[in-house]
């Protein structure tokens, strides 16, 4: 697989015009600020985060036992549970269920797992029509792009982009950029099609071992339509979504939407506890690399993720890159630490696309040490020699130089001379020096502190 060149993709997003990056940054920073306001209103906020983190760590370290309990209880309620080891198995199982019911068209609500498995293209290839019911996902489907954010899939597009897209695809007025009327237009276009679907597919935010229930959180109510209109409901659920007890759910419902969008809860929190009469309900419990990740000392805690997107909203690098730059299902800080577990070569540059500011770790509602894991992935990539040869050599030179005081002094002098002798036209040539394209070079002083010190504090010399 070809390496994703995230730096180059991000540069393209920034330089396309002044509008996209500015809007993108502003909208996501807004979400972060709303999150702060919402969190500040809950006196026990930090306690909730600690609890959520502890519940997840407990569950993940007893996962086998809770999975078994969940399956037993779900089956008791008449849900058919399937196990998928990887994406291919997941898709094959989904197709088998659908084809045995002679399904021609499905509607689906947002599921990052189905995204991760590449399910939609797979089913379409097999001749099954797939319609996204979530507005953002539908925009991305019509744009033929993957989602750029795990909560706001089309956040990298402006109102103008969407008006243009809808004009082209569903015949709206390209000059009408009013979000409410665009939303209504899509609703009027899509909803009649919902009625024609033979099956509905959803994800699942939480699966409760004690009751065999799974819970889906949305803001548009589209998961409820997806699950209730057709006679067949299939939910794809990652094995890390398990919670031991129903009472645990309260902790997560309180932090999820506050972290994501700064709202007290998602508009819809739907509990599915078995098929309604005359209908069928299936769950595809999917591993797809999760148990492998669970065995990785430095990285298993990434499985605590509840996919709130707060780390993306707060990330100053993500806000200026857009999710598409990461070329992966998951983008932003959480993407950086889990994408390499799917393909360490393809995503080897991602861990370097970070200023290591650390805000992601601090904002995460389940206390995932994201920034630390980014550093750990860098170490892995360096060791695996996944980093460009020239880059590795450059750091080797730095290591040699800074490890040898005498050499360092010599190089200081050279740096001084180079910076002062070369004309700006050369030092500020972007191909020669990436620093200088948008920044002036610092002045280098004739006298270093060390030299000053020797001159002025000689007696003290060590």
């Amino acid at each position: 697989m070809k390496k994703v060149n995230v730096e180059k993709n991000a540069a393209e997003f920034i330089y396309q015009d002044d509008i996209h990056v500015t809007e993108h940054d502003k909208n996501l920073w807004n979400a972060r600020q709303k999150r702060d306001t919402a969190a500040a209103q809950i006196p026990e906020w930090e306690e909730l985060r600690n609890l959520a983190s502890a519940i997840k760590e407990h569950t993940l370290t007893h996962l086998d036992q809770y999975l078994e309990q969940f399956v037993t209880n779900a089956e008791k309620r008449g849900i058919k549970v399937h196990f998928a080891n990887d994406a291919a198995e997941h898709n094959a199982i989904a197709y088998e269920i659908l084809s045995s019911h002679r399904v021609k068209n499905i509607i689906k609500s947002k599921s990052m797992l189905q995204e991760e498995c590449g399910m939609t293209p797979f089913l379409e290839e097999k001749g099954i029509g797939v319609l996204e019911t979530d507005l953002g996902e539908r925009i991305q489907q019509l744009s033929e792009q993957i989602p750029s954010h795990i909560v706001m899939p089309a956040i990298h597009q402006t109102k103008e982009d969407i008006a243009k897209l809808f004009a082209e695809k569903i015949g709206t007025d390209p000059n009408n950029t009013d979000p409410a009327s665009l939303n209504t237009a899509m609703r009027n276009n899509a909803r009649p099609k919902f009625l024609l679907a033979d099956a509905g597919m959803t994800g699942g935010n939480f699966a409760i071992a004690e009751t065999g229930t799974f819970v889906v959180c949305t803001n548009e109510g589209n998961a409820d339509l997806t699950a209730s209109l057709p006679p067949l409901h299939i939910a794809s659920i990652g094995i890390e979504k398990i919670l031991p007890k129903a009472e645990d759910l309260g902790v997560f419902i309180r932090i999820l939407s506050r972290s994501a969008l700064g709202t007290p809860a998602t508009q819809y929190t739907s509990h599915f506890t078995g098929p309604r009469e005359g209908a069928e309900m299936h769950i595809i419990l999917t591993d797809n690399g999760r148990s492998k990740r669970l065995a990785m000392d430095e990285f298993w805690k990434s499985l605590k993720c509840i996919r709130c997107g707060a780390c993306m909203n707060t990330c100053p690098v993500y806000r200026r890159s857009s999710g598409l730059a990461y070329g992966a299902t998951y983008s932003g800080p959480i993407g950086i630490i889990i994408d390499p577990t799917f393909d360490a070569k393809k995503y080897s540059e991602l861990p370097f696309h970070s200023s290591l500011c650390g805000s992601c770790s601090e904002v995460c509602p389940v206390h995932i040490n994201i920034a630390e894991q980014i550093m750990d992935w860098r170490k892995v990539m360096m060791k695996n020699k996944e980093v460009d040869f020239s880059r590795r050599m450059a750091f080797k030179a730095v290591g040699v130089m800074l490890g040898h005081p005498k050499l360092f002094r010599a190089v200081e002098k050279v740096a001084y001379n180079a910076i002062n002798i070369l004309p700006e036209a050369i030092t500020e040539n972007k191909t020669l020096d990436p620093w200088a394209a948008h920044r002036k070079l610092p002045d280098v002083k004739k006298e270093t502190f060390r030299e000053w010190y020797i001159k002025n504090r000689k007696n003290n010399e060590q």
Binding site: I14, E46, E362, F408, Y416, K430, W435, H438
Partner: protein
């Protein structure tokens, strides 16, 4: 009290006045300061790249300079380098000496607020409008301020010191703890994003009518000043020690 002065490589070379200000400031408060003259760097540039092999060489040199000194603290006027030593610095064996050396390394502002407990600098006047830039390492690594992501009591140690300065106006910009995009090697390997972050930071200062940006971390300021000068703003950048010591500027 006896301390060793840790002068990060880029301060030695590009901002000697910051090291001079730090040294003079400490001496003013009757602290005995020794300066190991063979010091180079904390190893952050290579460690941030995940390059443990080369970090080990730099860390070894650092330890040779500092671990045997008979001092109470190792004081550094640079949050991110101090964070590197305190929280990372794991490429060499963690002997007793190395861990002790790491534990007594402290950033300058916190040395004043937490160790010396000196926060009154009202003998100094600085009649200007400033914004404080606490670096990401200082905030999220060293907790020099409360973290905006946490619902915790609000404080800002740098501001505590600067607040006492006469005639100073401290303004809070729109996104005070947003990363400026320096990020060490990130600023050259991810040039477009880094520059954009820097430009946004500079606009925030300009929008808020700031004259001086003051920070306990010159590395961020090197990048911010680079952007600011390129954009021809009138912003000026100083290390907090330069204000507390009233120069050299």
């Amino acid at each position: 009290m006896k301390v060793a002065l840790f002068v990060p490589c880029y301060i030695d070379l590009i901002y000697p006045e910051v090291a001079i200000a730090t040294l003079e400031l400490l001496e003013k408060y009757n602290i005995e300061v020794i300066v190991p003259l063979n010091q180079t760097c904390c190893g952050q540039p290579t460690a941030n790249e995940g390059d443990q092999e080369n970090s080990a060489k730099i860390e070894k040199a650092f330890a040779e300079n500092f671990q045997d000194l008979d001092v109470d603290y190792i004081v550094g006027p640079a949050g991110s380098c101090v964070k590197q030593i305190r929280q990372h610095f794991d490429a060499i064996p963690q002997t007793e000496k190395v861990t002790a050396m790491r534990a007594k390394t402290i950033e300058l502002v916190q040395f004043f607020t937490d160790v010396l407990k000196i926060t009154d600098f009202s003998n100094i006047s600085f009649p200007h409008t400033i914004a404080i830039h606490n670096s990401c390492s200082s905030i999220r690594g060293l907790h020099i301020t409360s973290r905006s992501e946490w619902m915790e009591p609000r404080y800002n140690k740098t501001e505590e010191l600067l607040n006492s300065i006469k005639d100073i106006t401290i303004k809070h910009i729109d996104r005070p703890d947003e990363c400026c995009g320096f990020g060490g090697t990130f600023c050259v390997t991810d040039e477009a994003v880094s520059a954009k972050m820097g430009q946004d930071k500079v606009s925030d200062y300009v929008r808020n009518g700031i004259e001086y940006v003051v920070s306990p971390d010159m590395s961020c300021l090197m990048h911010q000043k680079g952007v600011s000068d390129k954009e021809k703003t009138n912003l000026k950048f100083l290390h907090v020690a330069q204000i507390l010591n009233n120069g050299p500027f």
